[in-house]
């Protein structure tokens, strides 16, 4: 069994090792090792389009994860005391949002937005008090559309996670707080929030990861905003240079760093209470 586990880990890490190895290739190609060099890291650092793509991805991921976590947690809290048709509708929508493949979300958002933009933009052109048509604001695909589409999927994810946590929560604590005349807000802050926090944090992290790595939705609705996965996809088409490997390695290192610092922080915070 141990041998099997080792084999799986090899399977998981061989491609990553290859990515890291070729990021140090001095040659031009990502498949033909010519010698050791860190030149590609310099190239990445000096490539404004890579830095921009990373910035776009970070902004989109942070915005959509924040919105999804906020709205999703709010909805999950409200849903615990909702019954009847409203609950059925929300359950259904959450279910469908998770079930609909990303590619369909991308396509549906694209054609809906393009149709809506056509109408709104014509309207704007007609009513805007300016002579120069170039000065009339026009809606277009971009940050808004990517963030909106990513938030949709993440929102459903957060609702499910937080509701599962609430379902497993000890209701008596909330009732006890109410009996002790705590204000609703006080009850929420001191009892409910700490209890659901792990699910909220998990929801945020999952949403962020999903958004940061999403290609297929952004592929349709990004307009001219290049996110990191779109940049990488374009690079694969342009013919891959070790620059892509360098980007991959940096992303990996940064996430590892975040992971281990979170780990250390958690361990420090949790030490006194952790029994098992």
């Amino acid at each position: 069994m141990r041998a099997y586990a080792i084999a799986i880990y090899l399977f998981l890490y061989a491609p990553i090792a290859l990515i890291v190895l070729f990021s140090f290739n001095s040659g031009l190609s990502a498949s033909d090792f010519r010698g050791f060099s860190i030149a590609w890291y310099g190239k990445v650092a000096g490539n404004r389009f890579v830095l921009e793509a990373v910035t776009h991805s970070l902004i989109v991921a942070a915005a959509s994860a924040t919105l999804a976590t906020l709205f999703g947690t709010m909805a999950a809290l409200a849903l615990q005391r909702v019954t009847g048709w409203l609950r059925a509708v929300f359950d259904g929508l959450t279910y469908v949002a998770i079930m609909v493949p990303g590619i369909v979300i991308g396509i549906a958002t694209l054609i809906a937005l393009v149709t809506a933009f056509d109408i709104v933009n014509d309207l704007l052109l007609a009513i805007w008090p300016a002579d120069d048509p170039g000065a009339v604001p026009q809606l277009a695909l971009g940050y808004g559309s990517i963030i909106a589409a990513h938030t949709l999927f993440s929102l459903a994810l957060v609702i499910v996670l937080v509701r599962a946590r609430i379902a497993g929560m000890d209701r008596s604590l909330v009732e006890a707080a109410t009996d002790l005349y705590a204000t609703p807000w006080g009850t929420f802050r001191q009892v409910t929030l700490p209890l659901i926090l792990p699910a909220v944090v998990a929801g945020f992290l999952l949403s962020f990861t999903f958004s940061f790595d999403d290609f297929v939705i952004a592929f349709f609705v990004a307009g001219s905003k290049t996110t990191l996965p779109i940049y990488v996809f374009a690079s694969i088409r342009r013919g891959v240079t070790p620059e892509i490997n360098a980007i991959g390695t940096v992303v990996l290192l940064v996430s590892l760093l975040l992971l281990f610092s979170a780990q250390i922080l958690l361990r420090r915070g949790a030490k006194p209470t952790r029994a098992t």
Binding site: L12, P15, I19, Y95, V104, L113, F215, V240, Q263
Partner: protein, 292 residues
């Protein structure tokens, strides 16, 4: 709860709060799920504009033409379940090893190591497989060993390898979680009572891990049904999934109405299979299986 709801006033206030809390999510679902899907339905009844795109019409022609994408549907409906199954078979022993056989000291680290690949861009990892499965990768190695000429890239097998690689961690995690909850004393008790390891596994471990298995399979299956990148990069445009057919219809042949019909069918197919799946597995999963 009953006490707080006695007066009309507080009930009203509570209802207002509930509405306020639900409003943003509700609006989001409405504007970005219900409306776009409605537009897709409308488009799917239209026809292709002369230069491509959408022209209004009211016909079922696009749905009647669905058999023209039969191979893409078949590939998806065959490779998605197979991929899910292979993921499960590969993930279960690992999850079991991590949850039952590893000392708690290393468990977390090993678990993290399963998830770390997720933080390297999915695209870049899949690209690495393009190289490994390509002529200069494994096939060259096999030829050198003396297996003769083997072609891996752009075959269903290479797509399957990409699938298992990409989604294995998603399968390991839920199974691990359900196995970790398992009380090891149950296994010891079973062993004490003379049960063989295989029998204890079958009668104790397996049923207890069912919720994790069911959740993991559903997660992977859902993602595979809409897969585009893996067949695109490792299938060389030869192993087409519905996702690829969709991209092709929207970004090459510019047949939005037909693409909308294919997209709707995918959604319906998806809801049908997953609902059926949840029905069938409910008695094994008990109440532990939620949506995710």
């Amino acid at each position: 709860m009953a006490k707080a709801a006695t007066s009309d006033d507080s009930a009203k206030r509570r209802r207002r709060w509930t509405a306020l809390l639900l409003a943003p999510a509700g609006l989001w679902f409405l504007a970005l799920l219900v409306m776009p899907l409605a537009v897709v339905v409308v488009f799917s009844l239209g026809e292709r504009a002369p230069a491509g795109g959408y022209a209004p019409a009211l016909s079922l022609a696009n749905y009647l033409n669905l058999p023209a994408r039969w191979t893409a549907f078949r590939n998806t409906l065959v490779l998605a379940p197979i991929g899910t199954l292979v993921c499960l078979l590969a993930a279960y022993p690992l999850a079991y090893f991590l949850a039952v056989r590893t000392s708690p000291r290393y468990r977390l680290l090993l678990l993290i190591l399963v998830i770390v690949p997720f933080w390297t861009s999915f695209l870049i990892r899949t690209y690495a497989w393009m190289f490994i499965l390509g002529g200069r990768g494994l096939p060259a190695l096999f030829e050198w060993i003396g297996f003769g000429e083997i072609r891996l890239i752009n075959t269903p097998l290479s797509v399957l390898i990409g699938i298992v690689y990409g989604y294995l961690p998603l399968m390991v995690f839920p199974i691990f979680v359900s196995l970790e909850r398992l009380d090891k004393r149950l296994l010891e008790a079973a062993a004490d009572l003379g049960s063989t390891p295989w029998r204890s596994f079958r009668q104790v471990t397996l049923p207890l891990s069912a919720p994790g298995v069911i959740t993991g399979c559903m997660l992977v299956f859902i993602l595979l049904m809409g897969e585009y990148l893996i067949p695109q990069l490792l299938g060389g445009g030869k192993v087409f999934f519905i996702g690829n057919a969709l991209v092709d219809l929207f970004l090459q042949s510019r047949n939005w109405p037909y693409g909308s019909a294919v997209a709707m069918s995918l959604v319906i197919l998806m809801l049908a299979t997953v609902t059926l799946y949840l029905r069938l597995t409910r008695r094994y999963g008990g109440r532990d299986v939620s949506l995710l």
